[in-house]
Amino acid sequence: MEVKILDILGQTCPSCLLIALKEINLNYEKLRKGELKIVIKTDHRDATRTIPEAAKAMGYEVEVEKIHTYYEITIFKINKRR
């Protein structure tokens, strides 16, 4: 699976969510097919609420992990094989 890393460390709201949403929409096809993972690096605490909430509402899987001083939000779709 391809991984796209989005470094928005040091940026503040509402850019974090806006950038994440834009990136999800731009890569809609690849995300839907399960070919791409978007990894967002953010130090904005509220983004660990808003980004996962928005991504889940769009039907994506979300994982969040704290790395050193920031959070890594991974957005992806599990490709169901027949």
Partner: protein, 362 residues
């Protein structure tokens, strides 16, 4: 129950600031963000907590009054509403959205090492300094555009009662729908409704012990004044705004006064102490959570937005004689005309700010 001793007054406000900085950081409770996200994302999640903060203080302040805990009613920092309140609120509202934070959230976010918010902080100080130059004209403007001679709205008692009743019904409904529980992955996250309750209790205590509910923006002007004094020591003496006292309080035969000028006075013991406390409280919290880190400056466009927004926040707050902390958190529960006027115009400004962001930021 007023604290009269300046040192204790300072320490009290400083301590309140530390606690506030801690909970605001952990819950990432940003009033500017809460109002903006309604327009930008139709996200009402944290707005519920903001409503709780405002409504819960109505009975608290009332109780404080009938029990004689509250000394000043209305607080001496409240004025008659003028067009300045409305105009300032509008400028403030646009600014806080562009800056990504209001006068309080800019502090707790900047204390985590965020340079975008630091730029907004500089903007707020600069905005206050620009206002200082134009203070006399604004003072005339406010006096000639008074909207009402009373501080409170008519029938504020009855309206308060209905507001509390409506609030209780709404809060109960949200509880049944499970809407109070907010999920965030951030370590040490504290539920927004808890932040709102702690905030309300702190504000109530500040009203009792410090004289009136929290305010903070004059402290920004004061910081600006101290810096200006360093650079232009002779010029600042000629700036009327910094040589006047905007607040004179008589209590227990003691006269205490304060202004935006570069001196240790009432605003130093109250607002500046609170500001420093919030910075320290949030800084310590981010150290504890291992989240303090300076990641460098944001993209140029975002940096400009933060700086310009900050200037508008600082300037707007001075024109309106207060900010969202003073008006939304403290004066709205007392139903003053000023606070309602400010809240409406600030919301309108936030709407305009959201439109600007949608079009130009990303």
């Amino acid at each position: 129950m007023l604290i009269v001793d300046p040192i204790y007054l300072f320490l009290f406000n400083f301590l309140v600031g530390i606690i506030l900085g801690n909970v605001l950081n952990r819950g990432d409770f940003c009033i500017a963000g809460i109002i903006r996200d309604i327009f930008l994302f139709k996200d009402y999640t944290l707005f519920r907590a903001l409503m709780l903060l405002i409504i819960v203080q109505i009975p608290l302040f009332y109780l404080g009054r009938i029990l004689g805990l509250i000394h000043f009613y209305p607080p001496p920092t409240y004025h008659q509403p003028s067009l300045g309140t409305a105009l300032g609120g509008l400028i403030f509202g646009i600014g806080m959205v562009l800056a990504g934070g209001c006068v309080v959230s800019t502090l707790y976010k900047m204390a985590k090492g965020n340079l975008t918010n630091f730029l907004a902080f500089i903007g707020i100080v600069v905005g206050s300094l620009i206002y200082a130059e134009m203070h006399p004209s604004w003072e005339t403007f406010r006096k000639s555009t008074l909207i009402s001679h009373s501080i409170f709205i008519k029938g504020s008692g009855v309206i308060s009662f209905f507001l509390v009743l409506t609030g209780l019904l709404l809060f109960y409904k949200w509880k049944k729908e499970g809407k109070w529980k907010v999920f965030a992955y951030a370590q040490g996250y504290i539920q927004p409704w808890k932040v709102a309750l702690i905030f309300a209790l702190l504000n109530f205590m500040v009203y009792i012990f410090s004289g009136w509910p929290m305010g903070i923006t004059t402290a920004y002007a004061k910081i600006g004044a101290y810096i200006e004094k360093l650079i232009l020591p002779e010029y600042i003496n000629k700036v009327l705004y910094f040589s006047q006292d905007s607040l004179v309080v008589v209590s227990n035969n003691l006269i205490i006064s304060g202004g935006a000028g570069p001196k240790v006075d009432l605003y130093f013991y109250t607002e500046l102490a609170l500001l420093l406390g919030i910075l320290l409280g949030s800084f310590l919290t981010s150290l504890y959570l291992r989240e303090f880190k300076i990641f460098g400056f944001p993209p140029l466009k975002q940096a400009c937005f933060a700086l310009v927004g900050g200037i508008m926040v600082g300037y707007g707050a001075r024109v309106a004689l207060g900010c969202n902390l003073k008006y939304l958190a403290g004066a709205l529960p007392l139903l003053t005309i000023e606070s309602i006027l400010f809240a409406i115009n600030m919301t309108l400004g936030a709407f305009l700010g959201s439109m600007i962001i949608k079009k130009f930021l990303i």
